[in-house]
Symmetry: C2
């Protein structure tokens, strides 16, 4: 099919769509334009370039076989024409032309198209506060800005840095600054948790504690009022404190670049993203869009959602390439997966968090399990922390969140659930999920299975639980005297606490509970705890049999308290 | 519900069913019997006990909180009565009693039941050849036998060992003997590949090469005729050679223990396993069965299949426990997952292999992709090898096999597909599978997505491929002169081969192919190759445009040849 295709944007989706099209339909004429000079790079690699893990920006722009994806590469290898430093000014849909302009010399051109692809991406939000234009204040918008940040750091100018925003990019940048460059780094976040809107308060609290252990200061619930300094930034002033800063990274989210589309009369969502169907067509069937400038369907809620992600962009790009070549590929939507490495841990999500589920009107509950990632007798193993969000009544699984080591064990569990989510699994599907089993990789009853089982028990009312947050409230109020903390572990584990808190902490190992039932306080609320929540659940079952039912099992046990940084 | 439940077998499924029942229905009277003295252990840990990774057999018998699961534990902690050293002799279903006998003193008892659970497991097959009763010949039937094997090794008696059978247990035992004890180990297998019936010949060949690199001798397609020696085994005689051996491990598969059920008139399958429904009920609704003595439904083929596995046993045990307590839990079936660690690699499966698919009547093809497990610019990464089995026409995904490092990256990919298999995914579901993306964990276009994409291209006839096996045939016949091996990598990679094989090996880097089209031989078949198969696919597309279509893209490229141990 001889056709002219113009693609606006050449970072992730644009090149993917172009290359796919040319493989399927070599006769198409493809012109790809981008306002920057560097194109086709892995933007998600920027924090690793800043940290030094990736030494050269060219590596982010290379193929896996070390070929730089520049305009020459696309021309010689892919037969695709690329105009860099070229901005799309406007689209005339009736004439099917794009007006473009060279950003260096202002020269204008008109590019006719049969089909047009909008891969305009997103741009970082900037706070509307004084001082944002001072030197030393950066966003993480593109590879050139990353190069500038690294130049500042490598020049030895930066001793103290403040990151505004505790989302993914903010935290990755904080780690990059602190870990490899030893910069005294603070993160200021307006929400009351890190990674707001992405992971649960429970997981966020554990992640926050880990960042603190790695000398990153986190200030939650603080508004940045202004940035101060002469020509260069020197201070960040919040509503609660003033932080010295030689460098400020503003990472407060991104906005879809949809003005070009909007000006051309293409449908835009209430949130400002381009609206597309499953074929990635905009409201104009001759114009496709994808990547960070569009909304997609959330496969759990069924609603439109904005998920800027280099991974989705790549897959949508392939769908567009196929459809440009006359095919009928579909992008159904996304389940909202997320993972981040933070020093020695990883945090992840698939689907929706409990808060989001409640906001969406689901009658939901979350279930938290801590277990080893491998057979408990296998020598190398780590505890893993998973939280499943389930709908009461139906038992439908709405999401999963996890904290694990930086190996791929937690990644594996959350990915497996991510793969199922669009099929609307229930707790029973998780209970019976057939992970690959062998002691060096998993447990016979894997943590995912345990998570499904626990969810079933909680939904059935057989396991009455509290989380670390509730625990800490009751612990703070322990002098009221209405609660006993019953340690179901062996005496060796309980001894320290019983001696320290004789009025509140009591030890009856779970295996002795039937024999020592007479010792159980019957006039007070009992918080049952063990290392991970398994023995305390067993204890709860035994107490139920004796008619002692005002009991609460601490999900995740002492392991969760430790990960929270609760110092008892 | 006051009821008597008798459970025959106390290794994996039995204890799980018993404990689940008692948690849901504490009033049930549960008696669990086992003919052995050691109960409730992780049998899959035996190779790690033999290797020394697990130092004490008690660790395999412990809870994750270091409590030994013996008869006393079950009585005190779980309120379950256990009779060890007690064999079930027969069942009278009309009277609802089990006749049992103490294996030490021959004392008999009659145990009445309201519900009965058969958790009789499996036993290792023994070859019917001379010499199997010699000293030093073992199966891997239970923990006591493992203790005996380790005693022999630790006693310094074993310099040479022969493992008969290259299935999972055979190979794990071979690694245990060779790796940590330095024993000169050979494996003899009657089939023409390792892990027959489990993974593809392609993956098996790569695994075999890795075993060879680790000094394990593998003899395929050999029948063991007899074992020789005075009182103790000294030699293994096959139809092709004689191997000296101080120790022989016979690991030629297992047989379900179903005689007790069969004698009682319970339905048994043609393969000798107990037949159960989704509730894990046998043909007698008062009798449940599960674990290594039953068949389950294969969720890909829909047929009955025998999958002995400690992991399935645990999950089936929970289903039985729930149903014993009056619930209605279901075990739908299994997708046949498998993973094994072999020195520095892991091999895995979910679903069915190509051979199995063809045997089952599917018009199937397999697709092989090699790619890094993380973003290619991330410093720590490894190549991963995945093979997807798909049905032509429908694009239905029937199975996946993988080879990767011993980290969890390959485990994660195969687990994700395993989680989807029961929903009958197609290649498009794999292309769009939303793995969690961040450079330290995955690639923006992850290997799984690439696998789905490649499968689509191959099914659509856009990518015409050969595998390493076909390559090695054509390479062997290269002096016929009808084939040119066209190296699409840079000259630096190709130079060595061009100089060594000037008549057969030609170099045109893929990025120069359009410009150097005149150099492409047009009278001979072209085998296109690069490092992993990506650039050679691009080259094939470009050649197609020039009307050169007698071309074959080597799937997995030179990386696959290396993994095969093909020495060019």
């Amino acid at each position: 099919m001889q056709q002219n295709v113009v693609i606006i944007g050449a970072v992730a989706l644009g090149p993917k769509a172009a290359c796919r099209l040319k493989r399927l339909d070599p006769d198409s004429e493809v012109i790809m334009i981008d306002q920057a000079d560097r194109i086709s790079y892995g933007g998600c690699g920027i924090p690793y370039f800043v940290s030094g893990d990736v030494s050269d920006p060219g590596q982010l722009q290379s193929t896996s076989f070390h070929m730089i994806r520049d305009a020459k590469f696309f021309r010689d290898v892919k037969d695709i024409q690329v105009l860099t430093n070229t901005r799309a000014v406007s689209i005339d849909r009736s004439k099917k032309v794009v007006f473009v302009q060279d950003v260096r010399d202002g020269k204008k051109q008109t590019l006719p198209y049969d089909r047009l692809v909008l891969a305009t991406g997103s741009r970082p939000k900037r706070l509307a506060i004084p001082g944002v234009s001072l030197e030393g204040v950066f966003t993480v918008s593109d590879l050139n800005e990353a190069v500038a940040i690294k130049r500042e750091i490598a020049g030895g100018k930066v001793e103290k840095a403040v990151v505004i925003g505790a989302g993914a990019i903010g935290l990755e940048m904080a780690e990059a600054l602190a870990d490899l460059w030893g910069i005294d780094t603070s993160v200021v976040e307006v929400a009351d948790q890190i990674l707001p809107g992405i992971i649960s308060p429970n997981m966020a609290r554990m992640g926050q504690h880990h960042l603190k252990e790695n000398d990153i200061s986190i200030y939650l619930g603080e508004h940045v009022l202004r940035l101060e300094g002469e020509s260069r930034v020197e201070r960040v002033v919040t509503d609660k404190r003033t932080l010295d800063a030689d460098l400020v990274i503003m990472a407060v989210g991104v906005t879809p670049n949809s003005k070009l589309a909007k000006d051309a009369g293409i449908e835009i969502s209430a949130n400002g993203a381009i609206v597309v169907n499953e074929r990635m067509e905009t409201s104009d069937p001759h114009i496709y869009a994808g990547g960070d400038c569009v909304e997609v369907t959330h496969l759990v809620t069924g609603k439109s959602v904005y998920f800027p992600s280099g991974s989705l962009a790549n897959r949508q790009g392939r769908v567009i390439g196929t459809n440009l070549a006359g095919g009928n590929a579909r992008f159904e939507g996304a389940v909202g997966t997320f993972i981040i490495k933070l020093f020695e841990i990883s945090l992840a999500n698939a689907g929706i968090s409990l808060k989001r589920a409640l906001d969406e009107g689901f009658d939901a509950v979350s279930v938290f399990v801590v277990q080893f990632d491998r057979a408990h007798f296998y020598p190398e193993k780590d505890l893993m922390y998973l939280e499943l969000v389930v709908e009461k009544g139906t038992g439908r699984v709405l999401g999963i969140q996890g904290l694990g080591s930086v190996n791929d064990s937690m990644f594996a569990r959350v990915s497996a659930v991510a793969a199922m989510l669009k099929y609307r699994p229930t707790t029973s599907d998780i209970s019976n999920l057939e992970l690959l089993y062998s002691p060096p990789f998993s447990a016979a009853m894997d943590i995912l299975n345990a998570l499904g089982n626990t969810a079933e028990n909680i939904l059935a009312g057989q396991n009455r639980v509290i989380d670390a947050d509730q625990f800490s409230h009751w612990w703070t109020e322990r002098d009221r005297g209405d609660t006993v903390f019953l340690d179901c572990r062996g005496w060796g584990n309980a001894e320290y606490f019983v001696n320290k808190y004789p009025d509140h902490w009591k030890s009856i190992p779970q295996d002795e509970l039937r024999a020592r039932m007479a010792e159980v306080p019957k006039d007070r609320k009992l918080v049952l705890l063990c290392n991970t929540g398994v023995r305390s659940y067993e204890a709860q079952v035994i107490l139920d049999q004796s008619g002692i039912r005002d009991t609460y099992n601490l999900q995740g046990g002492v392991a969760a308290l430790k990960k929270w940084g609760l110092d008892l």
